[in-house]
Symmetry: C2
Subunit: 418 residues, 2 copies
């Protein structure tokens, strides 16, 4: 008898029929004798509606109250799914984050899990009752509701799996698995049966949006085996495993892209040590996450440009922060480019096979696509291009790396939110 965490995303609980369907899947695993812990998102569209209410109420919503409003959607689903299970004669009860509690930090709207008290859940499981837990929510140190940011129910699921020592974390989504690229742009994209945490981490953070970035980080840290399934069809999904469990044969695993960042260039930053640290420190304090950093700091020069990318939604905070810093640091002009797209090639073999990097630059050059920035990691090369060329770049690279399959599996199910 295994302990499995099952998480149902928004489209998997979009209406009462979907909720009944989710209940049937839970009943199926339950009858196989597994102990189950269920995590739910809000019904599809509900969180968007709630965010719309917030934005219609005030142009500058405080995150504490934003969290109160947007976390209510999950509460509804947890109650309804518990009722649907009870209707199938299965013992179930809903839990909100504050009841468990799932304790987080103070960072409203993008809180991080501090710890999860498992005693109430373990007691519930021992009584043969399936806990149905509202995802996305947490409880702050001062007893207020927090949320984890969009897709945050994945975080709840993986954190619970880690805390409870679950043998598996199954994420039911509106996609049948992880693809080599967005099938809406690359019709020949293939579903991956297995992928490493490290790769999916890069894929998730780069806009594939199949999985919440931080959920994967958590899964990786606690070695939680994660599987991504479709709620709407029978399929093997994609299994996410440790890098060492993957053979070396597969080199490039996917091409991803995102449109949601802005590139900021500070034209003249002094090369004194501590200056960049001060800039990035101040941005971090303002809650702005910096992604790519393009800084060619030549010792021979006093001043050099510093470029970096951030999420476009963080632009107001970033600009306000830079405005303040400019007085003390005097880094020249601040140039903002919101017309960029980031394309990333992800694969384990990237660093150890230098010709793969060459393929990237050659392919883009052949298409006449200008590269506005480059960032590399162990398993990823990201390039910044003008957003008009993003789709062309993704398709060209997908072919160049011979990722094209016969035909994509159900590409219409693949959701990219840019």
């Amino acid at each position: 008898m295994a302990l499995i965490v099952q998480k149902f995303g928004g489209t998997s609980v979009a209406d009462i029929d979907c909720i009944q369907n989710a209940a049937r899947r839970i009943a199926f695993e339950h009858k196989r004798g597994h102990q189950l812990v269920v995590v739910v998102s809000a019904m599809a569209g509900v969180t968007d509606q709630l965010i719309q209410y917030v934005n219609a109420t005030t142009p500058h919503p405080r995150a504490e109250e934003y969290d109160v409003v947007v976390s209510s959607g999950e509460q509804v689903t947890s109650g309804l799914l518990a009722l649907a299970l009870q209707n199938f004669e299965i013992s179930a009860r809903s839990f909100q984050a504050w009841q468990i509690p799932i304790r987080t930090d103070h960072l409203h709207a993008k809180a991080r899990v501090n710890d999860i008290c498992t005693s109430l859940l373990e007691e519930t499981l021992q009584q043969g009752i399936i806990p149905v837990i509202s995802g996305f929510q947490g409880l702050s140190p001062s007893g207020r509701m927090t949320t984890f940011g969009r897709g945050g129910s994945d975080i709840t699921a993986v954190a619970l799996a880690a805390a409870l020592g679950a043998s598996r974390c199954d994420l039911y989504k509106d996609v049948s698995g992880i693809y080599t690229a967005d099938p809406r742009i690359v019709p020949t994209a293939r579903k991956l049966d297995r992928v490493s945490y490290e790769e999916i981490l890069e894929l998730a953070s780069l806009g594939s949006q199949v999985l919440q970035h931080r959920a994967i980080e958590l899964a990786m840290s606690y070695r939680v085996p994660v599987r991504v399934f479709s709620s709407f069809e029978e399929s093997t999904g994609t299994e996410i495993v440790h890098e060492d469990e993957i053979m070396e044969k597969a080199l490039i695993h996917g091409i991803t892209h995102t449109h949601s960042e802005a590139k900021i260039t500070l034209t003249q930053v002094t090369s004194q040590p501590g200056v960049t640290a001060e800039i990035f420190g101040a941005l971090a304090d303002a809650g702005v996450t910096v992604d790519m950093i393009i800084h060619n700091n030549l010792e021979s020069r006093d001043l050099s440009p510093l470029a970096f990318t951030i999420a476009r939604m963080d632009l107001p905070q970033a600009q306000a922060t830079l405005q303040k810093l400019k007085i003390s640091l005097d880094f020249g002009d601040t140039i903002v480019d919101q017309m960029t797209a980031k394309i990333s090639v992800v694969g384990i073999g990237l660093r150890t096979h230098p010709h793969l990097t060459g393929t990237l630059f050659r392919t883009l050059s052949q298409r006449g696509i200008e590269i506005l920035g480059v960032a590399t990691s162990e398993i990823k090369i990201s390039i910044l291009v003008h957003q008009d060329f993003a789709e062309l770049a993704v398709r060209s690279l997908h072919s160049a790396y011979q990722l094209d399959g016969e035909t994509a599996e159900k590409p219409m199910l693949y959701a990219v939110k840019a």
Copy 2:
């Protein structure tokens, strides 16, 4: 500087415009220097939608999960109204029942307040922050969410006013006050400027539905001064005061009616002591509230009919309970009449002026309306008639007791939910 509890009902927070409007009313009282505690209902229609979800999920919802689902609507409004106040530069923060907490008993879907911990609210008020509290909700002894039944936000408001020792409890509703009758049926109905707790108690429990019955009981017990206002117009509303504060001049204060009960007759109940107690005890245990009881127990007879009315929605439980009792008590047939309406004449002078009772019977007799049952209290006479005659009866009695005014104030705003 007075402490005032302000409660905004569903239509008063129906959309973002209404929420902004409520925020302006709060801002107005705030600027006059009053300390305010705000209670909110769910946006109009939201609770109905949630109940619909529950009923679509399972034919027999368990009240624990029902409460989880339906209490979410208030959470949304509390957050949005706090945001709207913050947008007006007024310090505010939302509270859910579990955060305060508002402790109740275990009776899900119709919980009763046990106690309210005021320390967090008092601390908040001392900091100059307006607490915006989700109405309708409570926290059970086992840490689960409870609700107070429809209109339960009134209970939250009055209970808070009592616990905090507020000098006033203002209820903003979609009516401009309490009327002598339903203006949709009696166009000449008049708004009452003042009415006693006792009378409004009778009016509320009889279907006027302007005020939640139990909220008035609470207000009466703790002598909380309550005022009913319209959210949509400037008016003096109706003030609810103690009976002894009302002069003797006004005798009959209103005629109410309701269509939502069923009459049950047990044809042959033995006159042994304890039998009726056993019947009503079992119904109470099953959560069925018995309203009128019509029992003419003649000592000379062994068996006599026992009739009583209950809420129509409780009929399944009542019938199941009676079925079980029938085995031991053998009370003959169970006759159910769902075609009844209850008409009530409410007024302080009723008992002390016997001619007023005569007016009731004479008026109905003149109209040829058959009386199916009578129940009396200190300030009320209720009669049961066939529901086809309900409106005729109300209008005739309204005239007979000379309650007709020149023309009703905004009768379209008067809401009767039968």
